[in-house]
Structure formats: structure tokens, C-alpha cells
Symmetry: C2
Subunit: 300 residues, 2 copies
Amino acid sequence: MMADELEFHRWLRARAEIGDGVDVSIGDDGAVCALPNGTRMVLVADAIAEGSHFLSDDPPELVGRKALARNLSDIAAMGAVPLYALATAALRRGCPDDVPRRITTGMLELAREFGVRLVGGDTVSHDGGTVLSVTVVGCIAPGAAILRSGARPGDVVVVSGRLGGSFPHRHLRFTPRVAEARTLLDLGPPSAMMDLSDGMALDLKRLCEASGVGADIDAASIPVHGDVDPGPETLRHALEDGEDYELLFTIAPEKWEIVKAAWPHEVPLTAVGRVTSGALRLVSGGGLGVPWPRGGHVHT
Amino acid sequence: MMADELEFHRWLRARAEIGDGVDVSIGDDGAVCALPNGTRMVLVADAIAEGSHFLSDDPPELVGRKALARNLSDIAAMGAVPLYALATAALRRGCPDDVPRRITTGMLELAREFGVRLVGGDTVSHDGGTVLSVTVVGCIAPGAAILRSGARPGDVVVVSGRLGGSFPHRHLRFTPRVAEARTLLDLGPPSAMMDLSDGMALDLKRLCEASGVGADIDAASIPVHGDVDPGPETLRHALEDGEDYELLFTIAPEKWEIVKAAWPHEVPLTAVGRVTSGALRLVSGGGLGVPWPRGGHVHT
């Protein structure tokens, strides 16, 4: 994320052409594209940079792990199965010889855990900190991808896991919710889904905008992570810290009952509100709605 | 390319697993991977960094163009058809607002020219120069990819275009040889192929090593680009400057006759020598062989 990214994204989305093999393009967690025989792929790409997404003294293994994990989180958010990864690394000129190996070791460990094969990439040296860019190719049945745009009034808003306090530790070691997302597809599917990377305040706003809906979110129901210190700022941290890499999804109420009853994973699911045809609001206690917080963590 | 890249690549190739959906992995111009239904994709990824692959005052449109063009050159070298591209950009914090748009405009123009769709990506800000990373997904029939490892003694060694003097101008505007490579597949196919990015001195050495062969290259036959100043250093420039982005391939003599007779493209093809079971040598005039130059442009 960069300062002017939102405006650039608007400019870019206006140039994204759908059709002719492209089911979903720029603007969702990933693209859905066809090969000439009609087979669908899900394609995601994501970069992390020293100073923004990790610190210069973070272990290279965990930095490599994070670069891949963020992409797996995007693949999960589409409901796809990750298959192949490619990675490029721009490394500080003169960095220790073992850095590319350590970065790759971290990637390979996570890749193995998720059945993903690292099949290509590139390394360059430059006068700046480490920048890692990863692409993951996944597969999905035609029409099965879960987009941000499918939320309908009346749907339940659900998040996986607990939110907030991810930086400076958990963000390097999070588990992408690939298995959980696949279960949701089997049991639901959700009407809309994305992964929480910039904080629920910003990300739910994006989902609502993509779907043309609003939501009433119950402040008291938001699951706060144990990494957040209790206090008056607790809710703000849960909504705005970012780097949660949990699933945020909307689902029809009758399907939510099925998902709740059959949920086989350790990671909890929490209903936090309802989709409406109105604005996005934070509802606390007695039902008084306040405007949705503007925050969310935008890397600059 | 970085200082320790060759050793890192050896380390990496030792960890690349073939099979189970992966026909070709790290070590060639691209990977060949299967989707669950057996459909094959070709996957390539490549990064360019300010100060190594372009200069800070190069027009962002041409920098974006180059980032994509290098990947299309890799796709061409595999004999594949490029379909989709994803790009990430790490931009200097505080760079002018129009830079990401100008980079993207350059990419989109080239993408359109080659029927490629830009379907995703990411932008990040950091304390360093611009780093662009692009991935291209292409398609190919199972078993049809042209690898570096197929050269056999007796094959003719051929290059497209003319070599040398690419930096500081041509390297930003080269035309990836996608159409030419497809014609070679139809007419030949070549026994081995790669694109010339680091200079023929280094790249032919790689092709020979991958194939377990040598070659006698006729110094006088090497097609030198008009961008190289005539003089005693002319041949060295043609072999070592790099950034040619021409095709280097080997082909059985009878197929070479067919290709020569039917070649429909403006870009010339030049036979520069023969594959042997001996060493890689430069043969000048009367047939006296000298050891192959060690050079080639490695970005550090």
C-alpha cells in the first residue's frame, strides 16, 4: 500500500477489462482467469518491503514465510486451492550471502505445509532494503470463486479468529486460512469473502462498497486478540491494527446455521453483525449506531 | 542477478522437485506446471531494479514496458503463448503521484500489443529505488515446451536479431520474440532454446551446460548490432553486453533448412556454429578454436 494507492487503484480498475477469459480482474483478492480450454486459475500477487511490512532485523526465514503467507491468504479469500508459487527478491547490495537461502527456506517450509510448489523466481541486488514479491497460482471450479461483491442485505457478517495486535510479532507467523475457506465453500458457500490485511475498519468498508451494501456491526461482538492490551483503545486496535489475515465473510442466515453446527476447525468463527441496505455503522450495546471508523492500517 | 546468484541458484535447483504436476521447475526460462485436469501452464517471474536494470531518470512508461517485456521474452524462450500478467511495484516513498500510472501505462501498451491481460498486482512504498516484479502465465501443449537441455551434437546454433550495445537505449524498447518463437515451434521445433539476457558468452554456456554438450562458434558469423561501435572490442560487446533479448536456439540441420526457407519474420536468424560433444569454443577464421570468453553481463 502506498500513499496514493486508493486513487491509483480507482484509475487501474477503470482499465481492467472483464470477459474474454477473465472472470475477475483487479479489485478483488485475486483474479480468476481461463486457459484456452476453459480451465480456471486464480492468480494473486503481493509484495512486501523492509521498513513497511517487516523490519531489517526480522529473521529472513520469517520474512520469506510472510511474503508467501500473504498470497496464500488471498488465495484462501477467493476460496481457491493454492498450487504454485513464484518469488522475486530485491536484496540490499552486499547483504550477507545466506540471506536469499534463508528467505527461500522460510518460503519452502510454508509451501510444503500447504502443498504448494515453488517453481520460479528471480533475485536482483539494489541500493535499498529487501523487497519480496510473490505470485501464487491456484485452481478453482468455474464460477466457484467467492468475491467481495456478493453480500446481500440480511446476510450475517462473520470473521475468523481474533483481531488486533498482530504487529510486531504475529504478522510474521500467521497461518493463512486456506483450509477454513475450503470448508466454508463446502458448507456454505459465503456470499462474499476477503482476507483482513488492512484492518476490519477499512476492509469491511471495501467489501460493502464492492457489494453496494452497508452493515450494522455489533461492537461488543468483535473478537479481540489476546495480543491487544485491554483498555479504552482495545476496539480501535481490533478494527484498525491490520495484518490479521483472518477471513471476513458474509453468508445467508440459514447457511450460517449449517456452518456453525458443522465447523470442524480450531479457529473460531464469530458473527459480528448483519448486512443492511443502509450505511456501514458500528452499533454498540443498546443499538445506537455510530459512523464506521475511518481507520485501518495503510502501509505508506 | 546478484553477486552470489550462481551459487544460490545451484542451492535452489537442488531443492526444485520435478513431477507431481511440475514438468519443468527452477533453472530454465520458465516453469511448466499442470492444473489438476492436466492442462499445462508456463509460469515466469522476473524483477528489475533501479540502478541495475534502468536509471532513475528513465521514463516510467519504458521501465514498466521493460519489466513486462523481459517476462514475455522468457515466455517466448519456452515456446509458450503469453496470456496473463501480474505486476508488483515497490516505489520510493514520496515519488511523484503519477509514477505508478505511468509505469502501468507502459505495461498496458505492451500487454495489448501481445494480447496479454494485466489482471493483478500490488504497490508498496519503501526507502529505496523502484523495483518492479512481473509474473506472466502462458499456455502450451503438454510436452511442447522448448527447454535449455535438448541440444544434441550436430545441431546448428542459431541466434535471432543482432547482438550487443543494448544498454543504454535499446534495452528499454526491445520487442520480445514471441511470434518468432511460435513460428520456430511450427517449423522446427528447435532442440533447445533460451532468451539472451546476460549476453551470449554466459547464456550459451548455460545452454551447453544444461544440455551436457559443447559448441564451436564461428566468431566471424556472430551478428553484431549497429549500436556497437566498430573496433577491436566489437565481438566482445556482441558476446558480453547482455540485454539482447534475442532467441538463442539449437536445431537439427535438416530442420534448420526448413526454417531458413520458410522464415516469414523481419528479424533475421543467423547460424553461428555447431553443437559438439566437446568444449564450448570460439573458432575464428581458419578453424583454430580458443576457449569461450568467460564474460557476460551479470547484474550485481
